[in-house]
C-alpha cells in the first residue's frame, strides 16, 4: 500500500498497514495531541487570568454604596465608609504615581549608568514599600467590601412579629390579589421555598416568593437603587434594579418578596393582600 500524498484520510488502523502509513498516522496523531494540548493551555490561561482579576469599583458605585449604607446603617457608618474609600483612592493615586515615575526613566534613557542604577534601586524600593503599605489594606478593603456590601444580607425588621428564626416553611402564605392580565404559570412548594410565578400575554413576568428567614440575599448593587417603604407589616425594602423591581419584607419569621416589571404601587398593593393560606402538615387552613 502506497501513500499517494493526495488523498488524506484518517487511518483505519487495519493490521496490514505499511510502516510508512503507520508513521504517517502517528505523525498525525502527534499533531492532533499537540494541537489539543495547545488549546487546553490557552483555555486554562484565559481562566487563570479571569480568576486573578481583582474587582474595580466606579465612583458612581461608591456614591451609591455610600447612599445605601447611610440609609441602612446611618451617617456614621457612611462616614467610615467614605474614609475607607478615600484611603483606597489615595492608594490608587500612589500606585499611578509610581508607574509614572517608571515612565520618566524610560523618557531619559541616557542618564549616566550609575545614576540609573541608583534610581532603579530607589524605585524598586519604593514599589516594594508601596506594595507593602497599601496592597494589604486594599485587598482587605475589597474583601470586606464584598463580604459586607456585595452581599446584602437582609436583616430583621423592627416590627417583626416572631423573633425566632425559622429554617423551614411551616405556614404557606399567598396573595389574594393578582395583577390584571397575568396568570399563574409556575408554582413551587418546597420545605424551604415557595415560589409563584405569573406572566401576561406579552411574556412579562412577576413572582412572589416566601422563604425562611435564615437566608442570605445577594444583589447587583451597582445598578440598584434602594428605598425604604412603609407597609402594614412595617418597613419594607424596595429595589429598582435595571427594570427588575423588588419589594422585600418580613412577616411571621419569613422573608417575602415580590419581583418583576411592576410599579411600586402595584407591588405594595399585592403585598398587602398577603394571607395565611395553609399549613404544610395540617392541610388547608385559610
Amino acid at each position: 500500500m502506497k501513500f499517494t500524498g493526495k488523498k488524506e484520510t484518517v487511518s483505519s488502523g487495519k493490521p496490514n498497514e505499511s510502516t510508512e502509513d503507520e508513521d504517517m498516522r502517528m505523525s498525525k496523531d502527534a499533531k492532533l495531541y499537540k494541537g489539543l494540548e495547545e488549546l487546553n493551555e490557552e483555555k486554562i490561561k484565559v481562566l487563570m487570568e479571569a480568576a486573578d482579576q481583582e474587582p474595580e469599583f466606579s465612583k458612581e458605585h461608591d456614591a451609591k454604596m455610600r447612599q445605601m449604607v447611610e440609609e441602612r446603617f446611618g451617617p456614621e457608618a457612611a462616614e467610615k465608609m467614605s474614609e475607607i474609600q478615600m484611603t483606597r483612592q489615595k492608594a490608587d493615586d500612589d500606585e499611578k504615581r509610581t508607574k509614572q515615575n517608571g515612565k520618566l526613566y524610560q523618557i531619559y534613557p541616557r542618564f549616566k549608568k550609575i545614576a540609573a542604577a541608583i534610581l532603579i534601586v530607589f524605585m524598586l524600593g519604593a514599589i516594594t514599600m508601596s506594595t507593602e503599605a497599601f496592597r494589604v489594606p486594599i485587598v482587605n478593603f475589597i474583601m470586606n467590601f464584598q463580604k459586607e456590601f456585595m452581599g446584602v444580607s437582609v436583616e430583621h425588621s423592627e416590627t417583626m412579629v416572631d423573633e425566632s428564626e425559622k429554617e423551614t416553611i411551616e405556614e404557606i402564605y399567598s396573595l389574594k390579589k393578582k395583577i390584571e392580565g397575568y396568570e399563574l404559570f409556575e408554582e413551587i412548594i418546597e420545605p424551604r421555598l415557595v415560589i409563584r410565578r405569573y406572566k401576561n400575554q406579552r411574556q412579562q413576568k412577576y413572582k412572589f416568593t416566601q422563604q425562611p428567614e435564615a437566608l442570605t440575599s445577594w444583589f447587583d448593587n451597582e445598578d440598584t437603587g434602594y428605598e425604604s417603604v412603609d407597609m402594614i407589616y412595617g418597613k419594607a425594602l424596595f429595589n429598582d434594579n435595571d427594570k427588575i423591581y423588588y419589594l422585600t419584607w418580613f412577616y411571621d419569621g419569613y422573608i417575602f418578596e415580590i419581583s418583576g416589571e411592576l410599579t411600586k404601587e402595584e407591588m405594595i398593593s399585592l403585598a398587602e393582600s398577603l394571607y395565611f393560606k395553609e399549613a404544610t402538615e395540617e392541610g388547608v387552613n385559610e
Partner: protein, 152 residues
C-alpha cells in the same frame, strides 16, 4: 570596576523586589473548582453582576440532613443559567465540600433545592457555596454566593 558596582546594585535591586513580603490569605477553601470552570462551554467574562440581578442562598441542618435552597434572577438578556451547589463543612478551619449538585435552565430564573446526609455530623459548621454561571449567548459570567453559616 564600574560594571561590578552596577551589577552589585542591580543584584540589590532584584533582591529588594524578590524579598517583598508575601501575604498568604487565610486558608478557607481548598476545594478545586478549576475542573468545573474547565467543563463550562463558552467564553468567560471578567465582569461580575452584569448578567445577574439577584440571588438568594439558604442552608439548614436538621436531623442529620443538610438542606440547601438557592434562587437566581438574571436579566432578561440571559439565555442559560447553570448553578453549582456545594454544601460545605468546616473541618479544622477549612471548608470541605461534602455535596455537589448541578442545575441548568434555559431561562432567566432558576431555583434549586438540594439535600444530603453524607458527611453531616454534629459539632460542625456548615454553609452553602453557590457558583452561578449566567450565559448571554456563548459568553458567561461567574458569580459566587454563600449562605450564612449554620452550626449543628
Amino acid at each position: 570596576m564600574m560594571k561590578k558596582i552596577l551589577s552589585l546594585m542591580l543584584c540589590l535591586a532584584l533582591l529588594f523586589t524578590i524579598s517583598s513580603p508575601v501575604y498568604a490569605e487565610e486558608v478557607e477553601d481548598n476545594n478545586e473548582y478549576m475542573e468545573e470552570e474547565y467543563q463550562m462551554e463558552g467564553t468567560p467574562s471578567l465582569l461580575r453582576w452584569s448578567n445577574i440581578s439577584s440571588a438568594t442562598a439558604g442552608l439548614s441542618v436538621t436531623g442529620g440532613t443538610a438542606y440547601s435552597a438557592m434562587t437566581v434572577q438574571a436579566y432578561s438578556k440571559v439565555t442559560t443559567i447553570v448553578v453549582y451547589t456545594y454544601i460545605q463543612k468546616k473541618v479544622n478551619g477549612v471548608w470541605t465540600n461534602i455535596y455537589q449538585g448541578i442545575d441548568k435552565i434555559n431561562d432567566d430564573y432558576i431555583w434549586t433545592s438540594r439535600s444530603t446526609t453524607s458527611g453531616v455530623a454534629k459539632g460542625y459548621t456548615y454553609r452553602l457555596r453557590g457558583r452561578i454561571y449566567a450565559y448571554v449567548g456563548t459568553t458567561y459570567e461567574l458569580v459566587t454566593i454563600y449562605s450564612s453559616e449554620k452550626s449543628y
